[in-house]
Subunit: 448 residues, 2 copies
């Protein structure tokens, strides 16, 4: 929100906005509401508009109804819609009902877009003018409406008849334009970049960044501007997305608030689900091991390397997954490029597998020859088994890890749902099968 | 970069800037330089300014020297400094030497800041005015210098004597201010938010986001403005940081360019290092297994659950690490809060461990009672061993995973260096020790 507000007075006057928010976050809800009720309205709006204020909706709900409505009306409407959505239906309806009709309409419009869409991020408080105006008239209009608009740094020029978006003029071009020239003379020459209400926030961020915008217009099918998404909302969305990506890659459901503010049970719920699913998947390793029990009892030495070999498959898979998740998210790579990725991961995985395989062989040879451990008369065959298994498993891990995000995207899931433990679990079971198959081939007739 | 440039003509005229960049990225360097040499200077500047142009420095270097100098001079100087830094010293010096003295000085100033610092992100092309001017005079000044400034949406008001930063005025306040009023009347009332040249880019992003700024001033010890960091540079830095975080969490060195554009050997280098280090660490599991070989030969059934138990420790550790990395990065949690995290992770880990432990016991009991597998007469004790080991290992994993980012930060490393495989490797070795110790305690006298 780019608005500025008059000098702060009242109980929080000593704090700047960000510090006041931190202070409010530390209080209980009744105390916080009590303080917010006493600050000047403009300050109250500014405080409630901060996404960092963790219980803004609950504070709003505890204010006297008239005051709550006044604040909602004055607030950026994208934020007002978010706050209302966080309330229970009856409380939400009571607050909306008390608002002026135009605000009610704008907020109800915003509230029906899905979370994470351009529609849910956008504000309807932008500046638009007809294309037949002169630059001087537009600047005068901007001055008059400045207080009520979230940003005035991009001005949307509409077709006078259809009200479809024709061009975008930045404030910097406007103030340097000849006041008597048509507004379109100050406009950009490229066709305006835009999104639709259902565009995902990651795509919105990508376009804003790609075209260095301060705001992007959201158009309906008739190319009329239904709202704009500003760069500050995109920053917040990016940070949230980045948290979500790291959390999900770590195998946790994304937290919706800071670590220390999550309740104990909510924390368990966010973690136990995936952990249990992975555990159930990993149970297949126990079944695989039972299957090879015969081989294990003949050559116990094979068990010694199971953790080493399995973790190498998981690690190489996790690497590949982390690379591809980001490339798909940034659209550096598309779904149809999957075979180009296979052609890269196959030689990469084989090279990495060969490096680890040689390290593994060196480990066994060193221990054997230095006398740290006796792997028996067939130690060279055992070393060869470990080396070949590492080559196979790291290659398989790299391929599986790189393809998993593609498969998820193809099935309609977010590719970033592919977490490191998810890949490791996939690779672990197949890794055991690869290991024991190679062992049977190399050690058959001697140890097995 | 907020600048706009006149209509594009020349060979790339059919493309908008972002598409032209994609086109150039697909060509070889000689072709790309040939095209850039032919576009109008303003377009050339705009193209070279795009961070998405992957070989901008190499293209610049292939242009005729006079043209390269002219483009560098006209370019946003933060970007010009980045491009020069990407060249070899002698080529860099030749290009800098051909620039006007003031540009040389500005660029040399920018080039000595470390990568990822505010100094390396900042531009010196901002608008500053003396505090004794009137609003109308300032607006006139802004109009005159607009073309040469990266942003004019924040105007820095300096003390007329010391040139120290006194206040910040936004363009929206300036255009609505009374032209005859002193400029300070239009200024913000809170003291300006600022950074120093050595502030880390993550902290710059945090402050810009926290205070909803379009640019943040970079001050020297005398509080003079040495540059500003704009929100678009922060967006780019955030995306790069977000990539880096996911890559590093996946155990890969961050890639400096898109997946498909990395050479084969560079890709191996980025992955083989960590993979080998993790492999060497994981070799300790082989040593631990050798240590417990006696127990293994007596109770082969214990080996069946090794992959299951180890992966559960690694998974719970990875969850905790991913949560704490982000909390530390966003400064929701400080180093000194480590014991509060211990107090959360201990009960959380125990609860999660108990859940998995019960699942593990249920698995063994089901297989035994349904006749899928015979764990022998002591199957209840075996089930108890697995349950207790899971409780212990998941608790240990959660604690170790949550503390690792703190330990890294305390040692002066980035907490985000703690990758999922790093945690898993740490937990794997200790997990085996926990498992066999519990087995010895429960099964001593029966199986062991």
């Amino acid at each position: 929100m780019f608005k500025q507000h008059p000098t702060a007075t009242g109980p929080l006057a000593a704090f700047n906005t960000a510090d006041a928010v931190e202070h409010l976050n530390r209080l209980d809800l009744a105390e916080a509401a009590h303080l917010v009720a006493q600050v000047p309205p403009a300050r109250g709006v500014r405080l409630l508009e901060q996404p960092e204020l963790t219980h803004a909706a609950q504070i709003l709900q505890r204010l006297p109804p008239a005051q709550a409505s006044a604040l909602l009306d004055a607030m950026a409407d994208d934020r007002a819609a978010d706050l209302l959505l966080a309330l229970e239906t009856d409380k939400r309806e009571r607050l909306i009902g008390a608002l002026p009709a135009t605000t009610q309409q704008a907020l109800r419009g915003l509230m029906h877009y899905p979370a994470g869409s351009a529609g849910s991020l956008m504000t309807t408080e932008f500046v638009s003018v007809a294309a037949d105006q002169r630059a001087g008239e537009v600047l005068q209009h901007v001055r008059e409406v400045e207080r009520d608009r979230e940003t005035i740094y991009a001005i949307y020029v509409l077709d006078p008849k259809t009200r479809a978006l024709q061009q975008v003029v930045t404030l910097r071009r406007l103030i340097t334009a000849d006041p008597d020239a048509p507004i379109l003379d100050a406009a950009q020459t490229n066709p305006p970049v835009f999104v639709t209400p259902t565009t995902d926030q990651e795509e919105v961020a990508r376009l804003i960044r790609r075209h260095d915008l301060l705001a992007i217009p959201v158009l309906d099918p008739q190319r009329q501007v239904v709202g704009i998404v500003t760069v500050d909302d995109v920053l917040d969305a990016l940070i949230a997305e980045s948290n979500e990506d790291v959390h999900r890659f770590g195998g946790v459901e994304a937290l919706d608030r800071p670590y220390m503010q999550i309740g104990f049970l909510a924390m368990i719920r966010k973690r136990a689900g995936w952990l249990s699913v992975l555990f159930l998947g990993e149970m297949l390793t126990a079944s695989a091991m039972q299957h090879y029990e015969d081989a294990l009892s003949k050559a116990l030495v094979l068990t010694l390397f199971i953790p080493l070999i399995m973790s190498s498959g998981g690690n190489s898979g996790g690497q590949a997954t982390s690379l591809l998740i980001r490339s798909l998210a940034l659209q550096e790579i598309r779904l149809r490029d999957w075979w180009r990725v296979v052609l890269r991961e196959l030689p990469t995985g084989m090279t990495l597998g060969a490096i680890l395989g040689l390290l593994g062989i060196a480990r066994i040879a060193t221990w054997q020859l230095a006398g740290f451990y006796d792997y028996g008369p067939h130690w060279m065959l055992i070393a060869l088994t470990i080396g070949a298994a590492l080559l196979g498993i790291v290659t398989f891990g790299s391929l599986a890890g790189s393809m998993l995000p593609f498969i998820l995207q193809r099935l309609g899931f977010d590719p970033a749902s592919a977490s490191a433990p998810f890949v490791a679990t996939l690779v672990d079971v197949s890794g055991l099968v690869i290991y024991f198959s190679i062992a049977a081939a190399i050690l058959g007739g001697t140890l097995l």
